[in-house]
Symmetry: C2
Subunit: 555 residues, 2 copies
């Protein structure tokens, strides 16, 4: 009899890069959990985003039973459009709001026909081959998020997705703790649990805790209130709506993603925002300032979002003025701190009042902190723990939390993308590695970017580039024309002009001298000598090391 | 009779950029307080650092009585080498350690003869023209830091420099609170006070509070301990030294700046590190692992510092291995979070134990928090408050703290670099603006960088560059040679090759067609048409928008 084996294949979401795509395999049949994008770090110059490596799926297209989505954040659904290019006609399973947001994205790319989305509510179970996937409601910074209890012939595994235990969420719909406990009671082989906030002690405060802060904002604001947050943070929008109505301010929602999400959430019943409390931006601008609250995106300092454009005076519709109160209702994601600071400073310079995370309590995280992770472990009581969603530092910290909860150290796997785990009924061990490099998306180009090109960009950015075009006589390598120097990102035109005579002399003499020394000197040698001479020249005169490209034509 | 007026002229240290250079002027005589550099934010690609704009000093060289330095951090002394190029032969006044560190820097640049450094101890007063500058000891993350009480004919102003109120500093030498109180009691016109941590509530914990954490590190570490911090944080080095001796570990100091500072601090009596507790790196590597602690720089994730090189396996002398315990004894400066995270993840991947700020308490700030700023105000009791050292967000927050301390709002000036203030005996008002733009230093080039060049670098970095060189017949604009395409930072060679035929065709047809349409077409029009055609081609095929440079030669 063939041994029962469950394979866990992480293609994203573990380790330094790559975000949120995991497979479970049994008997050559697979299910996919989430498929997200990640945003590049500052070393990935010019890259739009990163998607998981889907090489592993090649040749297995027929054996993929479905993709199960925990919630509708970009880092969990943003890669679906790429997945459906690789694997066609696999069904998608998601809760109602998640399904709606996926549909919006697929429709934008003309991909609605690429999958059938099966709306599956929390509490329901989907059978897919050897897998029974049970949807369990969890609280997160977007409504209708779920964890999965996946029942397999080898045992049950639990994938938390992104979660926290908010006991008093705005929508009153808490994490289904009884269900998690009941799954745990029946025995769980492995828990795959969100590690994002593992370094933060304690318990993430309830969303409700920030209501008084917003009330204070409305109480004190003399003029317009502009609140920016994530467009999918529906509960935040609900909080603001409720307070705005109490303070008799009209709500104005601006920006495509915010409007799309508000409309969808209203339609599906996740957001109660009566039409008579809403105004268009045109209407808002005609109302008295103290009668308006404007909701928009851009709290991460993104230069292209509405808040970013307002901060530089580049938003077409209106400008910030003294008396405005601007709330950044989010915490800067690591890497965005500088940008967020600039936006804050610019608004202060315009005379606005700016309220942000480090001053007033206007945001709480969507992820569990350390004590909540322990709570999850205590509910599920797994034999094995696999920390997911985080860099090695967070995964490693989650392991420490696991050992505190008496999971033996050898039963906790801190692994990175591509490292598979093989589960049998009573044991787990590391399996083979599969391809899980990062796939960079730049423009419409997917994956044909590599480290060389990023290095080239870094080098270009560091000191600019100089292209020296030479028209030479093929016979004796003498100059037929004056050399032409194109330079970008190096120095001002004025500065270059001041070097022009010296440079012409240097080029001419390098060519002549080298030829003089060695009549049969090769073209390669000539070009190399020139490059060296120019590199030395720029370094000596300016201390900079531009990229020097010799561009010769031999006529 | 001429009215007595004191001018405050901030050239750095207020607002978003430019760090820590301020002038006071009376009767056309000036003193300078500090002259530091600032490190570029991520938008200033390839820039080494930023120095204050010294335009204001031009023509006043004879009237500058001296430069007074609060402490020896780079953001307070790093600009002196540039100052002494602009203004020669002005004396420098600084405490003993500060003087020593300035000398080290000046000696490196062969500038020791450019100034006379007058060692002035805390408690002493220097008379310079109409100014009497009193040195008052304060605690900070470097020893021998001072605040200045500057007595002028108009009244006394106090400049705090960087400070905190550590009641139990490692060296036992606390902020001179009685002196500050006595200055305050006699009446202070204006307080210029450090705003760095104004957004942080409470009181910065004493340096002593982290001693138990370090003891735990030494208690638990099975092998080598590698501790990285700032090389000027002498008290941290003292703490580690004391604990290392108790645990019978030898101390190994590596890296030029760390060794320089240790030697200077030992020589001047600021650091007690007995020679028999020190070993060279060569010796350290022959000792048993549990007998060694290595001190180095790089806790900010700098790729070129020793810790950064260790994290990528590029340090020549040794490699990190399982059993090593690495301590990052600092908090990431905003903008460095990503780099620090990478270093942590890499060490974890190597199997080392990594201890850092967000997990264990291994660092405290060198700056006062909100309650300490209030304490400073309560000691000095100034008529006017001018928040210094910080971005607008921190300055603005400091103003809120000032109003809490009953300073009238109109007596608090939140200003940015270049905005002067004019003080008379009983009033202060905004004065004229003076040049205080940022001066970028790139290589040996100072100040001839501008926004255009930074924009060029950003554009080059974003999608790379394509240079198309064309050799054309001057008579009919036909191609004499095949066009040559140089591309960097755009795509792989393989990808470009796949487009080559299409590109050749596009270039040829654009030239021919355009010429066909209009025989007298100008060279400019031809080049513009080509650029447009190529831009469209790359955008359509790749979604990217490289910088396209047409480089034509007409023979």
């Amino acid at each position: 009899m063939k041994k029962k084996k469950l394979h866990f294949i992480p293609l994203g979401g573990l380790g330094e890069v790559g975000r949120n795509m995991m497979l479970f395999g049994y008997d050559d049949q697979y299910i996919i959990i989430d498929c997200g994008v990640q945003f590049p770090d500052s070393s990935m110059i010019g890259i739009d985003f990163i998607i998981p490596d889907m090489t592993f799926l090649q040749g297995k297209e027929e054996n993929i039973l479905g993709v199960f989505v925990t919630h509708a954040h970009e880092d969990h659904i943003g890669g679906l459009v790429h997945l459906f290019k690789v694997v066609e006609n696999i069904p998608t399973y998601a809760t109602q709001l998640t399904a709606g947001m996926i549909e919006t994205r697929l429709a934008r790319g003309g991909q609605l026909n690429k999958t059938k989305i099966n709306v599956t509510n929390a509490g329901e179970t989907v059978e897919a081959g050897p897998f029974k996937v049970e949807f369990i409601h969890v609280t997160h910074s977007i409504p209708d998020a779920v964890a999965f209890a996946i029942h397999t012939p080898v045992g049950t595994v639990v994938v938390t997705g992104d979660f926290k235990f908010d006991m008093t969420p705005i929508d009153g719909w808490g994490t289904d703790i009884p269900k998690l406990a009941s799954v745990g009671k029946k025995g769980v082989l492995a828990l795959f649990s969100d590690s994002t906030n593992s370094e933060k002690s304690g318990w993430t405060p309830t969303e409700r805790e920030i209501t008084p802060t917003f009330e204070r904002v409305f109480e004190e604001a003399p003029g317009r209130i502009i609140i920016s947050s994530f467009s999918s943070l529906i509960s935040r929008l609900q909080q603001v709506t409720d307070i705005a109505r109490r303070y008799a301010r009209k709500i104005c929602v601006v920006g495509t993603s915010m409007i799309d999400n508000v409309n969808l959430a209203k339609k599906l019943g996740y957001l109660e925002m009566p039409d008579d409390s809403l105004v268009t931006l045109e209407e808002a601008l005609t109302l008295p300032d103290h009668k308006v609250v404007i909701l928009c995106t851009g709290s991460q300092g993104e230069t292209t979002a509405i808040l970013g454009r307002l901060s530089t005076g580049k938003y077409y519709a209106f400008s910030i003025k003294e008396g405005d109160t601007i709330v950044l209702s989010s915490h800067p994601i690591p890497g965005n701190e500088e940008q967020v600071s600039k936006v804050i400073n610019r608004f202060l310079r315009m005379g606005a009042k700016v309220i942000y995370d480090s001053l007033w309590s206007v945001h709480v995280s969507g992820h569990a902190c350390a004590e909540e992770m322990k709570m999850m472990i205590s509910l599920i009581r797994p034999k094995y723990l696999i920390p997911i969603h985080g860099e090695l530092r967070q995964l490693t910290r989650h392991k420490v939390l696991g050992t505190m909860m008496d999971i033996p150290e050898e039963n906790i796997f801190v692994i990175e993308n591509g490292q598979t785990i093989v589960f049998e009924a009573n044991e787990a061990k590391l399996g083979p590695k599969v391809p899980a490099s990062i796939v960079l998306v730049d423009g419409t180009n997917v994956g044909d970017m590599n480290a060389d090109i990023l290095y080239q960009r870094e080098r270009l950015a560091d000191s600019g580039v100089v292209v020296v075009t030479l028209i030479l006589n093929r016979g004796n390598n003498s100059l037929v024309r004056e050399p032409k120097i194109i330079h970008e990102g190096l120095m001002t035109e004025k500065e270059m002009t001041s070097y022009q005579a010296e440079l012409d002399e240097l080029i001419a003499s390098t060519i002549a001298r080298k030829n003089g020394q060695k009549n049969t000197q090769s073209q390669e040698a000539l070009e190399k000598n020139l490059e060296q001479a120019l590199r030395k020249f720029f370094y000596t005169t300016t201390g900079r090391t531009p990229w020097i490209i010799i561009n010769p034509f031999y006529l």
